[in-house]
Subunit: 414 residues, 3 copies
């Protein structure tokens, strides 16, 4: 194993001769999203809080190490050494983000060993997919609509489809929230929601692109909250809100501007994207998830198809369209070159060509997710990984030293 | 609606020709305070956690969009376009902060529709009040003692006074905390407390003023914790501490240096302000809040009068006095010009005049809050907004899909 | 008391003539670790959540004020004024960190007054110890393996040894977690874990050293999680995981690179250190803590010996070895001078000498902790501080206004 070299660290961020900047602000924000954001988002299950936050901790800590190596070999290997800087740490967190997404589909139904195996393969596939998109196709995907969300979601959905459990209804009593578990989940939701502007702008070029990414994401997310709440209430027969929608669909706006955030989407465009995604994501939770489960036997615990799958595809399309509409009239001559790296020896570049490559990136990501998901799913199906029985899903006591629960409780509606 | 223009984003923060800075550090901190800070601070009610964190999420997400437009029209409109940068996002968060404050007064007693209507009007009034103070009176108010806290608190108190519920005692059993709900509330308290130095310094000029603001706020808050704890224990007949005081009065020190933090208040002055506010705020919770409810029928759910009202007024007065004492002997010639924007064509400026304008700003804020609060309260009183009955206040099951609660519990003292 | 002077604030961070930087990114991260990190980490006890988060809040708020004065007198006093900048705030947080560590040993067994007295003395001792190490011995200790963790842990262990309670078993029923209290504790664990790269790099020189510190810490912590989980499962007779290990031993990797993080430890070295510390810390929880309690009567509530004690000593040794191996072949001529402050009039400096001084620093810290701990323990033993009886330990109702708990619960294993 090549020894990574920390000396090259600060090189990329020195500016001028005077300013030696501190750590990039986005780094710790992204880190919080991966560990607290995804970890607590999944604590909504009444008896799987340890598994949600603990296994997420485990797979993310494993994944970032493997991602540093995989991404290092593919992107920053010089003379047998992997050059390592803080931006590499951010990219490792991004890579693990896609594993956290996939974890949402299989939450409560797989053993920790299965999770580690899945992480090992998914990180590898992620790195290859990312290499194809960013290096070969020269696709722009700063917030990872394609590389993180689309890939992660459809990979996870395919895995859970392969691992389908015919008698999962035996664990149905535990596949729901109690009052406090929903509040814990809101910690995850809010940290994801709040730090998403940092997420989508963390690896953008400093300056214009980064500020655009933060502003567009902020606007899209804000709009998404409103339509989610409105639709959640409208679709309930008594007009009540459902915590599941508030926890998840409010985030779809961040997913869907992942590709276009650093481009000239403009706040107005971002608001429209957020508006649309709140609608689609909430509709997905109400109508599509039950359908996927009953017809296609895709048991999607957290509803990642609604939060990452569809919004990810939308984000890829929005990104392709926005890129295809790019012109020096909007970006300025220098801005256009900067936004699409035209100075790095790209000949015959045109906006519509960029748009086509963006679209190609979406299909590559989907193909990698489906094929990879089937293969990895079959590997995970081998009866050697300590899986729990169907009647023991969504239960911490299988894998964790027991702790007293509050006494059996009564359901109260209104 | 003019299309906001994201291109102007980075202009304000470019420095020199070399350094292209990352996003300002304070932006995400303020964002966390609004959504996690205020959201969880209000989860202390035993059966209104969803409403606290969920409705706060809703109104803040709505409010920031409306605030971007309102503040954009008033402050950064050029040729029909609103110029948008990250500082505008911070200011939108600030504006929404005042709505979150007012939400504390009506918590548990209003419907989500009423909250949206209140947000719509309050953001509008905030933007006008802010325009009068900052642009017309040239008042300094970096941390918003006047614009955010005083205005928000007295606006909310007026609204709740207009909306008074004579039979609210029927919901009294739910108007208290249980063990876990107080721990959730501490998440909110701590994130507000910790990030307050970022809050008070987020829009200060980079450099001296910003660093002063952070240091003064840090000192004031630290002192405030000590007096709150001491007084909470001293006022209890058995010397015990009350979580209500720890959750709220510890924050009063941050409110009360909101105006003066970026001035030469000096750490010593900040400690004194924090000390005094801890005393006043805790006394307010013990003696004043019950009195306001029984005599004036002001049903202030979260005690915002003690946390934002009185400390906000104190902060305005401290700011006026500190400004009136400013001199080039203390700030340096250049520092004084920088601190009070003397280079922007101010003639006949004197420190005492600045002090008088600061005081005027306080009265304008109070007047806007009271008049606006009465009008908005009357609008909210119209029987069309889906209000809950008096016996259904502080209850999530009215507006949220039900979840099981822990079984009925027993009170244990010591 | 000299009035601290906020004017000097920005001096240290101005760069060039153009860039006036914003607040350092690490400041608020460290602040979060002290108040949310340590506060919630200790909420694992089923009936001591208020005490954990509330008393930690109290002692930290008191401690940072006293630390600003103590460290100010020793390090930044000029002409009777203490010069105060944001870096001083970070250092005050660091100092209080060592008190939070020691709090973990006595958690649930001391009164708030005892805690304040302990804080008063420990901050004083910390400042003196830090002055000896950093100023007299010229030791490098950016992340405080010695000054914060080793000193804090052995000080706390000595205090709890002096204060040993022979009948503590009467409170044993409360000295454990329930389901939700472990989830609250995970909030603390994760915020400590995530922000540790900021902690270890917060006061490093900007540029290379700071980036190295962040990268090394990130790697060490990631490795530590894996070995902790693996060993926790391996040591359980049914292969289950124990939340106590996940909450604590996963952090040992951050402690153990505290000294060496900013040096050329290299990611590979950091991974090894994290690996080893995960093993030692988990083994400590399983075998050593019960032994310390039964044989030496050291009642270590949070197991700080495993999380801060042993990893702190390891960190000091790793730091000494890494320093002793420093050469200009690895750091570069300029880098070496920068890393060990050779430009500040050090004559006859050699790497092995630096290593010896580092080792000396460890022994000074241990001696200060043991002697100081005995003296402070004896002071705290005086029967005037309102201590709770042995049967009332780990119980919030002694010091806090009561709140309803969830109804008595039943233990459920698997």
């Amino acid at each position: 194993m090549p020894v990574p070299n920390a000396r090259a660290t600060a090189a990329g961020v020195r500016c001028g001769g005077h300013c030696v900047p501190t750590l990039p602000t986005g780094f710790q924000d992204v880190h919080v999203m991966i560990f607290v954001g995804f970890g607590f988002l999944m604590t909504f299950l009444q008896r799987y809080g340890y598994g949600a936050v603990g296994f997420n901790f485990l797979l993310a800590a494993f994944g970032i190490q493997w991602a540093l190596l995989m991404q290092g070999w593919l992107h920053s290997c010089r003379q047998g050494y992997i050059l390592l800087g803080v931006e590499n740490l951010i990219n490792a967190d991004f890579c693990v983000g896609s594993v956290c997404v996939a974890f949402g589909a299989v939450l409560g139904k797989v053993s920790p060993v299965q999770l580690l195996v899945m992480t090992l393969f998914q990180v590898t596939l992620f790195a290859v997919n990312e290499f194809i998109l960013l290096s070969l196709l020269a696709v722009k995907d700063a917030g990872g609509s394609m590389t993180i969300h689309t890939f992660g979601a459809y990979f996870g959905l395919t895995v859970t489809w392969v691992l389908q459990r015919p008698s999962l209804h035996q664990s149905q009593a535990r596949q729901s929230a109690v009052y406090h578990s929903d509040l814990f989940a809101m910690i995850g939701t809010l940290f994801l929601w709040m730090y998403w502007p940092s997420f989508n702008s963390a690896v953008s070029d400093h300056g214009d692109a980064q500020h655009r990414a933060a502003i567009n994401t902020y606007c899209s997310l804000a709009a998404c909250v409103l339509t989610t709440v409105a639709l959640s209430s409208a679709l309930h027969k008594k007009g009540k809100l459902d915590m599941v929608h508030i926890q998840n669909a409010t985030l779809a706006g961040g997913v869907a501007v992942g590709t276009a955030a650093e481009m000239m989407l403009m706040p107005y465009g971002a608001l429209v994207v957020g508006f649309v995604c709140g609608v689609i994501s909430t509709l997905g939770f109400v109508y599509l998830t039950p359908l996927l489960e009953s017809r296609l036997r895709i048991q999607d615990t957290c509803g990642i198809h609604n939060l990452h799958g569809m919004p990810g595809v939308i984000g890829a399309v929005v990104g392709a369209v926005t890129a295809a509409c790019a012109s020096s009239a909007v970006y300025g001559e220098e801005g256009l070159a900067h936004a699409f790296d035209l100075d790095r020896a790209k000949v015959n570049w045109s906006a519509s060509l960029q748009g086509k490559f963006q679209a190609a990136g979406l299909f590559v990501s989907l193909a990698m997710a489906l094929v990879g998901g089937i293969v990895v799913g079959l590997i995970l199906k081998l009866p050697v990984w300590g899986q729990a029985a169907d009647e023991n899903c969504f239960e911490d006591a299988i894998y964790w030293e027991g702790r007293p629960h509050p006494a059996p409780s009564t359901l109260d509606g209104g």
